[in-house]
Symmetry: C2
Subunit: 311 residues, 2 copies
């Protein structure tokens, strides 16, 4: 799909047709997947390239909103067969999805192939796919300074623990939820678990806590940032990848990774995720504007700012 | 117990013998209860008086650490019978206690009686007791400007809903956990629930979210503050009352209730609660110093501060 432009951020992940049930409604076969959600967010800040497979049944018009935001789609491969499908349900506790059905389809035969121009990107986001594919993607990176972040899920932690541990050693950042952190580190306490993962190689651990925001830990700092409070949370599908897109997109935009920019980036991630959950799939991200992002950031800041205590 | 000095803050609650099991150890019959935990925290900032009953079996030496911090105990009544007892257990998820046994004992016949000198206090904390007793305590307040905060629990929300609704109308602040907020407001979403409670009378709603910190809502502001991150959480019993003690104690110390001081006070509440959970019951609060409080606040600040985003 296209020629492959020089991009600053590359994500390796999935493009899917999602069917989602929430207490507020349901939807059938809408375009989703980790790479789509990540790019829908990161593309507000930087140039993004996607590596992901779709099936012959996939309507490429679903990606036109990304193309309009200059997302490079030359890494999107059309494979024989049907597009990856996920069917899930949420109860009132929107922090946890219940998977009803997963049809891997083209994902079964997927091997990531980074177009030549992607191999010099500054930031790589390895979305939640088989850790062996994540390693295979890292092998193709030619920019030795590239900053690599990784997400995963319980399925891989259980079934491919060794391969996952190998790839974790090779990344700069890991972005997981609380349950995943506990499962990887085998520590119940999040801080202890994060420190254990730091000892494995990554320089920064980001823990996604759903409506409670995020915890970010590195050797020097512990940073806590709540989620933006919303009166209507409609569909959290893709919130984690939208968060990661804001985080990595912001880092790419400012062009440096420091404790200061990491904290700012985490906040931008939370701001972006707060939009994603306002409608089904990536619908809200399609209509989103820079002006709205700035406004929400201002509101977010008001919710967490305080003046120094008198002691 | 004593003559009754002029105090700035009065709490009406319980003094108990708690038996607690956690994954990290267990303890039998240690002094606890909402009033004790509240005072163990508030007494760092202001003069506190306690209204609570104990039984003939209660060893008053258990309260000597409070007396040393100038807590007035003239409102502690020794009633015929045994002291209120609570037996509870926590799993690794320390956010939720499982009650194993409750023996109300002297609490069955308790009617709060505020010593004359308490009736002019500036702040009243109605800890979790029967809402009829909370109303009875409010009836005795002679300071028309007194700021009144209220806590409650599922048991009263279910069994004495009407009485609870009546007392909620009469208070300035309500301090509850997420489940209690949902149960009172009959709204799942916390923001919606908080706004519903604001429409009932209170000016400020504080939602305690355990390890995730607090959400504070009033007509003008929404404030989010994470809990201080700890590697060892030993026993959360009393954390909510210790939080409230830091919150109300700080407000009394600065002598004004504004959006600015409310946020600062909520943070102080989180700081104080972070000590409480480090050991069984109020043990950690007994050895706590002002120096340690200042140090932890500095560390807390580092965990939530960030520099303005570049947009």
């Amino acid at each position: 799909m296209g020629n492959g432009n020089v991009v600053s951020v590359v994500t390796i992940g999935t493009i899917a047709y999602d069917s989602i049930q929430t207490p507020f409604g349901e939807t059938d076969c809408i375009a989703g997947g980790s790479a789509l959600h990540f790019a829908s967010s990161a593309s507000f800040f930087t140039s993004v390239g996607i590596v992901a497979p779709v099936g012959e049944d996939f309507d490429v018009c679903e990606l036109s909103f990304l193309r309009e935001r200059n997302v490079d789609l030359s890494g999107v491969e059309v494979l024989n067969g049907r597009t990856f499908r996920w069917k899930g349900r949420y109860g009132y506790d929107l922090n946890t999805a219940i998977t009803l059905e997963t049809s891997l389809n083209v994902l079964k035969d997927f091997k990531p192939h980074l177009p030549e121009s992607y191999r010099y990107a500054d930031f790589i986001f390895l979305a939640n796919v088989d850790p062996e594919l994540q390693s295979c993607a890292i092998d193709q990176i030619k920019n030795r300074e590239a900053y690599v972040a990784l997400d995963t899920m319980d399925f891989w932690i259980e079934s491919k623990r060794d391969a996952l541990m190998e790839v974790i050693k090779r990344v700069d950042m890991i972005v997981v939820n609380e349950a995943e952190l506990r499962q990887i580190s085998m520590e119940y306490n999040l801080l202890k678990g994060a420190k254990k993962i730091l000892s494995m190689g990554p320089k920064t651990v980001v823990v996604k806590r759903g409506e409670y925001g995020i915890l970010m830990v590195n050797d020097e700092e512990v940073f806590l940032c709540p989620a933006y409070p919303l009166e209507e949370v409609f569909d959290p599908t893709g919130a984690g990848d939208t968060f990661a897109g804001g985080l990595i997109g912001y880092l790419s935009n400012v062009g440096s990774v420091s404790n200061q920019t990491l904290k700012q980036a985490a906040i931008m991630g939370c701001v972006m995720a707060s939009f994603n959950v306002e409608d089904f799939g990536a619908k809200r991200m399609k209509s989103l504007t820079h002006k709205e992002i700035k406004e929400r950031y201002s509101l977010f800041k008001k919710c967490v700012e305080f003046s120094d205590l008198k002691l």
